[in-house]
């Protein structure tokens, strides 16, 4: 199989959806130029400016007009290059997109995708480095997707665009340029299905997005240097959450370490931890542990940024503490 980047994989998924369904339109700042991370390269050339819309710096408009278009027959993919910019359009996401279907008694659905790049990348600073999946997944009515590799990026985006509900599609900056094998053609992965990225019997690493990559690195180190066999469960979709896959894995290993780059406090890991405890309390060999960022805005200075945000070595440490219990 050929190897392409995460970003290119999303271009493939979008182009395939646009070829198949002419109601799919793409809107965002600078996307005629391929977007900040090349996630839209070539789309303007193939589909023209009526379906690939270069938008003004007007985030409320970009997401609000996507809602309006979605309830009147289009299937918009709205892009905000950094997830922080969704904050200027939180009303459109939370009060509009998420609520329309329920509040209006199921009369309409809101088939739109919000694409946003998140995560730390080489000192991008406090306003260009964060991960907000906890905000989005807290709100009923939003589906939330956070792929960790190019193949999943393609398969999940294809399903997200085809989905009839609003989907927040989070693409981590650190892995946007990373390459991997990606199936050609119409490749889809259903929303709401986790994958076991590596099997093991000693501990379950529950993770998603870039941290799934770090967890895989950590699992390799744990195996080679500590003879610990870690299972890596990549959630891929946070809402709807595939809790079955999580519980199946943790029931087997009896130890869970939940890993994400976002802040630990009030983070998505707290939800998973809570559900594990509710279902498997008596069967656990150790308390559920979370690996995430400490509670501060992401600092600019490289050593501070590295200190705040976890990578593979922090996962290894957390696992070693857990397996000793």
């Amino acid at each position: 199989m050929r190897s392409i980047s995460f970003g290119q994989a999303t271009v493939e998924a979008t182009a395939a959806a646009m070829r198949e369904d002419e109601t799919v339109v793409v809107a965002g700042e600078d996307i005629g130029w391929g977007g900040n991370f090349g996630q839209f390269k070539g789309l303007l050339e193939e589909f023209g400016p009526k379906r690939v819309l270069d938008m003004p710096i007007s985030e409320a408009l970009i997401l609000g007009s996507a809602v309006g278009a979605a309830v009147t027959g289009l299937r918009p993919v709205a892009s905000l290059s950094f997830v922080e910019f969704t904050m200027g359009a939180m009303d459109e996401i939370i009060n509009q997109a998420a609520k329309f279907r329920y509040m209006f008694g199921g009369q309409v659905s809101v088939p739109m995708v919000v694409r946003a790049s998140d995560g730390v990348l080489r000192s991008s600073g406090a306003q260009h480095s964060e991960s907000f999946e906890a905000f989005f997944s807290h709100m009923p009515g939003l589906k939330v997707v956070a792929p960790s590799n190019p193949a999943d990026a393609k398969g999940l985006l294809r399903s997200a665009i085809a989905d009839d509900d609003p989907v927040i599609y989070l693409e981590n900056k650190k892995i946007t340029f990373r390459k991997g094998e990606v199936p050609e053609g119409d490749y889809r992965i259903a929303l709401g299905e986790a994958s076991v990225a590596r099997s093991g019997s000693d501990v379950s690493l529950i993770t998603y997005s870039v941290m799934a990559q770090h967890a895989l690195e950590a699992a390799q180190v744990l195996f080679e240097e500590h003879s610990v066999e870690a299972e890596v469960v990549d959630l891929r979709t946070l809402v709807p959450l595939d809790i079955e896959s999580v519980l199946t894995s943790v029931a087997k290993t009896r130890r869970a370490v939940i890993c994400h780059e976002a802040w630990t406090f009030g983070g998505f890991g707290a939800e998973i931890s809570s559900q594990i405890n509710e279902h498997l309390f008596g069967e656990l060999a150790a308390p559920v542990v979370r690996v995430g960022a400490r509670s501060a805005p992401i600092p600019f200075s490289p050593p501070l940024e590295r200190e705040l945000v976890p990578e593979a070595s922090e996962v290894v440490e957390a696992v070693l503490r857990t397996v000793k219990l």
Partner: protein, 327 residues
């Protein structure tokens, strides 16, 4: 303070600031290419006359809000050069102790309410600073710098309407450098004359040549003086051109080399230099000497930044709250 450009020293001071910004930004380009600067850097090259000309009319206790392209505004408003350079390096001696970086430099003691990574975020913050001045019954002024791309953000509308309703001492300076990232203004903006936007708010609006320092001084002087005496906000549109890419390293496939070369003929530094020479306020040799001494200042700032330490990692949680520390 209203700047008096009949005065020799005022002219020289403006020239020093113009060249200091240019030299600082050009040095950052080199340092970035050498891998010495973390993150990404947006330079102000080509737009120097706007910050320098506007800030020549400001007092230290006046405020500015700035953008992601904020080094020039900060230097013009009097930020400490060493602290600025060290911040861009992420060092603990930086003006924000390494927490902010290039896009988030601020010096509240100089009225610099922050460069900002969120486009047009400064507009509503400027409105709040204006409200604060009015409430405190002071005669300070706020200048809100923002871009031609930023003008389409909803916050601009909200801020301008409110400042006009309340007659707040805020001057909106829109730097029309023709591009928002890689996208030409023409593709996303309803009017080509951005000053037309002022009418919607019942706000006086003027356009000026942002590369002509003396024109900037004159136009902004009136807007600032009006704001100071309670005559309310003005929208000032400064037409200019971004000589560099959106960020350092931008391949700039979206515009032609000819277009850039053409605009470089109206380099604000050269225009002002010619003026100084023509008016007999300076000669070439004196300016050359002045430039050398400014380059030395920049060298010193780089040395200061390079010799400074990074923040201690155990301090990573400091400054989140005023009174809560992590256990």
């Amino acid at each position: 303070m209203a700047a008096d450009f009949k005065d020799m020293e005022t002219n020289w001071e403006a020239y020093r600031k113009l060249f200091l910004i240019r030299a600082f930004e050009e040095r950052l380009e080199t340092l970035f290419a050498e891998g010495k600067i973390p993150g990404f850097v947006h330079t102000y090259i080509g737009q120097e006359a706007i910050a320098v000309g506007v800030c020549a009319n400001l007092r230290t206790d006046d405020y500015i809000t700035s953008t992601h392209r904020g080094h020039g505004h900060a230097i013009a408003k009097g930020i400490d050069l060493n602290g600025l350079m060290a911040e861009v390096f992420g060092k603990v001696t930086g003006i924000c102790k390494g927490r902010g970086g290039s896009m988030h430099v601020a010096d509240f003691s100089k009225g610099i309410l922050g460069a900002n990574g969120i486009v047009a975020a400064g507009t509503v913050i400027a409105a709040g600073a204006g409200l604060s001045i009015q409430t405190r019954q002071e005669d300070q002024v706020v200048v809100c710098f923002f871009g031609d791309g930023g003008i389409n953000k909803g916050t601009v509308h909200e801020a301008m309407n409110f400042c006009s309703v309340k007659n707040l001492p805020v001057v909106f300076v829109c730097e029309n450098n023709q591009y928002a990232q890689f996208t030409s203004r023409k593709l996303t903006t309803s009017v080509s004359d951005l000053s037309l936007r002022g009418a919607a708010y019942g706000m006086p609006a003027v356009s000026m040549d942002g590369n002509d320092l003396l024109e900037v001084v004159e136009v902004s002087q009136k807007a600032i003086a009006d704001a100071r005496v309670g005559m309310g906000p003005t929208l000032v549109v400064a037409d200019t051109y971004r000589f560099g890419g959106h960020y350092v390293g931008d391949p700039q496939a979206y515009r032609s080399k000819e277009e850039v070369a053409q605009s470089r003929r109206r380099d604000p530094l050269l225009l002002f230099e010619n003026h100084l020479i023509l008016q007999g306020l300076a000669d070439k040799e004196a300016l050359e000497l002045e430039r050398e001494s400014i380059l030395e200042l920049v060298d010193k700032a780089v040395a200061f930044a390079e010799q400074s330490e990074y923040p201690e990692v155990r301090s990573v949680i400091d400054y989140v709250f005023t009174d809560v520390t992590e256990k």
